[in-house]
Subunit: 305 residues, 2 copies
Amino acid sequence: MSVLVVGSIALDTVKTPFEEHADLLGGSASYAALGASFFSPVNLVGVVGDDFPPAHMETFRSRQIDLNGLQTVPGKTFRWSGEYMLDMNVRETRSVELNVFEHFTPVLPETYRETPVVLLANIGPNLQNHVLDQMERPRFVVADTMDLWINIAHAELMRLLPRLDLLILNDSEARLLTKETSLIKAGAKIRAMGPGHVVIKKGEHGALLFGENRFFSCGAYPLEDIHDPTGAGDTFAGGLAGWLAAQGGASVTFADLRKAVVYGSVLASFNVEAFSLTRMHSLSMNDIEARYEAFRLMQQFEVLD
Amino acid sequence: MSVLVVGSIALDTVKTPFEEHADLLGGSASYAALGASFFSPVNLVGVVGDDFPPAHMETFRSRQIDLNGLQTVPGKTFRWSGEYMLDMNVRETRSVELNVFEHFTPVLPETYRETPVVLLANIGPNLQNHVLDQMERPRFVVADTMDLWINIAHAELMRLLPRLDLLILNDSEARLLTKETSLIKAGAKIRAMGPGHVVIKKGEHGALLFGENRFFSCGAYPLEDIHDPTGAGDTFAGGLAGWLAAQGGASVTFADLRKAVVYGSVLASFNVEAFSLTRMHSLSMNDIEARYEAFRLMQQFEVLD
């Protein structure tokens, strides 16, 4: 089963206290598509300018990602530049140039409209709604969002939420959306806004999954060295959605979602080990399954005597 | 098997956005002793003034806590006053009066010196060292500490660390002690300072346990309403040490420590449900075991297909 991924495709310039690289492949859809591609075929929807490097296009192709939904238009590709502090939890955006992304309207190829699993990676909720409008009865719809849309596109976001099987957002965004300090209260409150399930990402502290009277707490894989946190959340969403698509996406159980959260965490933990999407080039299913198992062992404990 | 608990015993005044109570039973040793008492006999070492309410003494007695090591001296009991903000993660200390605690020197009754498990709850590392000097070959030594001692009693703390089987501290304290942002690096670095194991508490995000090439990530129990977070860390340490003592404390395995961390988390999660130590009065072993099981289910996931 395939997953449709829509989101931004960008050229990133990323600076950490130790390294700086320019014109890296970035954007929410790039990370999500590569993450998903380890588990299922991916239909990619996005836009790039005519300056988009062939090498980055080749990165998508090398992962068998379908590019029929990728528009190339005259102009410059979306560019983002950011800097991480010594505490890699702290990031400063240095510049954003929307370029061709400013007037992007996702138009789905006919062949994409019945893709069973949909991942609306982080873009404006108006575009996310527009993509869903073009889909024929998707089996499972996942969306990511961010503080910007909560602040400036609140009504569109509220219109999106009831259309989702799963909303993914981070802890500060969950607090912003609900005005609740407690993440437990926030998770329940967001579910009441419409999505069947909610994942609250907590960075180095893992992720919480909320369903109807169900809860799952997932730790983060313990990494000593993080080279580039960019796209960790997008890779998480991609791994999660790709794994669900591989299961067929028909009747997704809470147990499936738990595993999907862990697979998403595994993919994200690999991705931050190198700049941009570099780590994905050498990643194997053996690596993924070994880390899944390590993950399981590090947070399980014994039943009562 | 018994556990010896030494630390502060205080009269607390606690204000939250919803309630305020004065002269509550508080202090690191009070919380730790009550937490431990659900699993094993407790020998309590501490000091109170002659103003200490008989009702609080009765609270210790009702949990069969041995009070031969509790000194009552002329003067006023240690007092602490604090206020929690709407975000209960944020606390402001309003006043501290050391009173009889200022000149406290723990002297262990002869009958306490062979207690197999020792919990040095949060007090100055000079006093923690002094208690250890009086012990006869304890089987397992746990200590808690805080930012104050890292800042003003660093040398004493460094002298203490190699004498410990387990050091417990919170995330900001771990970062302060190691100058590392990554908690994974911090955990390893603290182990290199001497203690056999390290637990880094992360409040609402759970706790991390570090051993030699072993790691355990424990989520926090999802509570919607927290009435008084005071003493959560002390109750955690008490539950953990008490449970270890109940196992005999002879050859503590990593699997034992994992369970001990979960039991500590369970005890702490109950304690914050009411002011001071109130919740401990009605708590039963059935409650504890049911929550342990709920805890296990909420962070376990399936093996690979």
